[in-house]
């Protein structure tokens, strides 16, 4: 295998990729758009008036007034917590699967009794689940605005009342945690299947494969160079999606060895699948339709956008034969939930799918004409 040929092919692919606005859009921008749109839609859609449990350790006229103001905003519904001490707050939050929690400390009311000392301070504690990025951002803003008004009213604008933010570790993850790994799997699937189909239909039609057959490049050099580029694209899109997840949605993503294994195996899997499809279609148009016929149902049925449990039983059974389901689940377990055993199980299934499709694709793909 000649490295020079592989590098030349890789660079040609890279130039072609960068110059193709359509490919750039579908490979990089489209998944980002989907994440932003679906992330925004689903992250806060469960609640219209967002509930927040409050532990009022102060139990004063001032603390009651504060809670009344929160309720009057129409955005927050305050619920009294069923605990009485702050030391058990975190376990209470986890036991009750709470996305947010507010503690009003002892002495809150005392601090606000006139004349208010402008140098005094009393801080509320806001516990929040990071996976509920959107709804908690709204609550946080409401609390800040209310406190700002309180500070104006009681302390002439001095920041007497403040907020301490505490992130909670919640076992229940939000939609975006579920969605982002699915988007990585979906994007790799799209990129690899359509990339592979292009090479096997357009390049065949344009005579490029016939031309290559008459040059010293070997089939394995060609496939290896294309696979290398496909892996590059897979990691590029995965990294981009992860960056969006971290920066926009504040996700806590773990780059694990298993995640890397799944991304690599997924690239081989869907490249192989594209090769298999490409063997049975003659032209670009039918290749595009065949690609859509495979990717479209997989996108919706393999648990990319919503959990399998939301679908009828027979569809759940069907989904479990789709490779993308195991990619999505594997990535979630490896990146977000950190369930190593489950991640290994899903990785192994993805690896088996990858071996079957990639080897099958290589065996079925012919350069020579009959």
């Amino acid at each position: 295998m000649r490295l020079e040929i592989i590098i030349a092919s890789f660079i040609s692919d890279l130039k072609t990729f960068v110059r193709s606005k359509g490919t750039l859009f579908w490979t990089l921008l489209f998944p980002v758009m989907l994440i932003l749109i679906f992330g925004a839609i689903f992250s806060g859609m469960d609640e219209t008036e967002i509930e927040i449990q409050v532990l009022d350790l102060d139990n004063s006229q001032f603390s009651y007034q504060l809670l009344d103001v929160f309720n009057e905003t129409g955005l927050i519904e305050v619920i009294k917590a069923e605990i009485s001490t702050e030391d058990k707050v975190l376990s209470y939050i986890q036991d009750n699967d709470l996305k947010r929690f507010l503690v009003i400390p002892h002495g809150y009311g005392e601090t606000l009794i006139p004349p208010v000392d402008p140098n005094a301070s009393v801080n509320l504690t806001f516990y929040y689940d990071q996976s509920e990025q959107n709804s908690n951002q709204i609550i946080r803003n409401v609390i800040s605005n209310v406190i700002q008004s309180m500070n104006m009213g009681f302390a002439g604008g001095s920041n007497v009342i403040g907020i301490d933010d505490v992130k909670t570790i919640s076992g229940d993850f939000g939609f975006i945690d579920f969605f982002l790994p699915g988007m990585i799997g979906f994007t790799i699937m799209q990129t690899c299947i359509y990339g592979s189909l292009e090479r096997n239909t357009k390049f065949r039609k344009d005579g490029i494969l016939r031309k290559l057959l008459t040059t010293p490049i070997t089939r394995s050099e060609w496939i290896f160079s294309k696979m290398l580029f496909q892996l590059f694209l897979s990691f590029l899109s995965a990294i981009l999606i992860i960056i969006i997840g971290i920066l926009i949605f504040g996700l806590n993503i773990n780059i694990t060895f298993l995640m890397i294994v799944i991304v690599i195996a997924t690239s081989f899997l869907f490249t192989g699948m594209g090769m298999v499809i490409g063997r049975f279609v003659k032209d670009e148009e039918s290749a595009s339709m065949a690609g859509g016929a495979v990717t479209f149902p997989m996108m919706f049925l393999a648990g990319t956008f919503f959990e399998l449990e939301m679908m009828p039983e027979f569809l759940q059974t069907f989904a479990r034969i789709l490779p993308l389901y195991y990619v999505n689940e594997g990535l979630r377990n490896a990146m977000i939930y950190l369930k190593t055993e489950d991640a290994i199980y899903h990785s192994l299934i993805v690896l088996i799918f990858a071996a079957v499709f990639f080897i099958g694709g290589i065996l079925l793909t012919k350069w020579r004409e009959d």
């Binding site: 072609t16 110059r19 344009d206 031309k211 008459t214």
Partner: protein, 352 residues
């Protein structure tokens, strides 16, 4: 005529039969009257052959696309494989290029059997496949550099750009080039390894006449550089303009082969001098008495077959000497269309 001894499959008697190379002869056993067919191999061997094809055959089920054809291409010549669409041109050239499987037959390039030694031959050949389109979003230079890197033997890219008059286009994306320029790039790609043999499969199909002419000039230049060019085409003018040697293929068989002059002299009417509206009724007799092959067309037009240029001057001086008056004279040479018509009963242009 070749002679061949065959054994009767029924009675075992040895029968001697005769036939021409490539001919299939019906044979009847004199002892048991068993009927059979004997094929005489069309063995063509020439000195300095760049390509040798022996009994090449391609079947698709019941369809025989190429029927045991044999031919040879000399080093340094432009060899045109002429025929209508579906005649078997591309199938043949793709078998030679090892793109397509053969059903039977042997192909040698520079004396190497390609079935076993094609990898050795790859560095020596350059190919422009039929309807070739390169990578759309690479520039002309990048395209040539990419293909060049696939070979150990490399030509200078700048020289190719200059030779193919592509210097001004080198930074343009392939997708933005005109059809003629794309074909020129296709030819340029075929030259990146400085090949000894260039295969051009229908290089001007779909091009307008001006672009076609431009491509012809570049192909003619390849011959001037000493390269062997194997050209498939269904354009007679292309073969007439470029080819040193022409093989006409029809329904999978080579029906004629030779230089343009040989084909025209053998299958066409050759070169004819027409004397229009000749006033002297005795003119044809005078010309015949002087060993000219004359025929009368219409009432008063004479058609005189010319076998060499000097005879034209002889005719003109004879007409003047005998004071024979006429309206006009023109000379017309037969073309490959007439050759094809003679051989197949159909016009090549109608079969495309």
């Amino acid at each position: 005529m070749d002679e061949k001894n065959v054994k009767c499959p029924q009675c075992g008697k040895i029968i001697t039969c005769t036939g021409n190379p490539g001919e299939i002869v019906n044979v009847t056993c004199p002892s048991c009257n068993t009927l059979g067919k004997v094929t005489f191999d069309r063995v063509i061997s020439i000195e300095n052959a760049a390509i040798e094809v022996h009994n090449l055959r391609k079947e698709y089920g019941d369809l025989i696309a190429v029927n045991n054809i044999s031919f040879a291409v000399r080093k340094g010549e432009v060899f045109a494989f002429l025929g209508p669409n579906g005649a078997g041109k591309t199938t043949t050239v793709e078998m030679i290029e090892s793109i397509r499987e053969t059903t039977n037959g042997e192909i040698k390039i520079f004396d190497k059997v390609i079935k076993t030694s094609f990898d050795e031959v790859k560095e020596l050949i350059g190919i422009l496949p039929q309807e070739f389109h390169s990578f759309e979003r690479l520039t002309v230079r990048e395209t040539l550099e990419f293909f060049s890197k696939l070979f150990k033997r490399r030509a200078n890219i700048d020289d190719i750009l200059t030779g193919m008059d592509l210097e001004d286009q080198k930074d343009k994306l392939y997708m933005n080039l005109s059809g003629g320029l794309k074909q020129r790039v296709g030819v340029a790609i075929a030259l990146v390894n400085n090949p000894e043999i260039v295969f051009l499969d229908e290089p001007t199909t779909g091009l307008d006449p001006k672009a076609r002419r431009e491509v012809w000039e570049f192909i003619a230049n390849l011959r001037n550089q000493g390269k062997t060019v194997f050209l498939t085409t269904h354009y007679m003018e292309e073969a007439e303009y470029l080819a040193d040697h022409i093989a006409i293929i029809h329904k999978g068989n080579i029906i004629a082969e030779g230089t343009l002059d040989e084909l025209i002299n053998k299958y066409g009417q050759g070169t004819i001098l027409h004397v229009r509206n000749c006033k002297d009724r005795n003119a044809s007799n005078i010309l015949k008495e002087n060993d000219f092959d004359v025929s009368i067309s219409g009432d008063s037009d004479l058609a005189i077959k010319i076998d060499n240029k000097e005879r034209v001057l002889e005719i003109l001086s004879l007409l003047r000497h005998e004071c024979i008056e006429y309206d006009s004279i023109d000379i017309r040479r037969s073309n490959l269309e007439e050759v094809f018509l003679h051989l197949t009963g159909a016009r090549l242009s109608e079969e495309i």
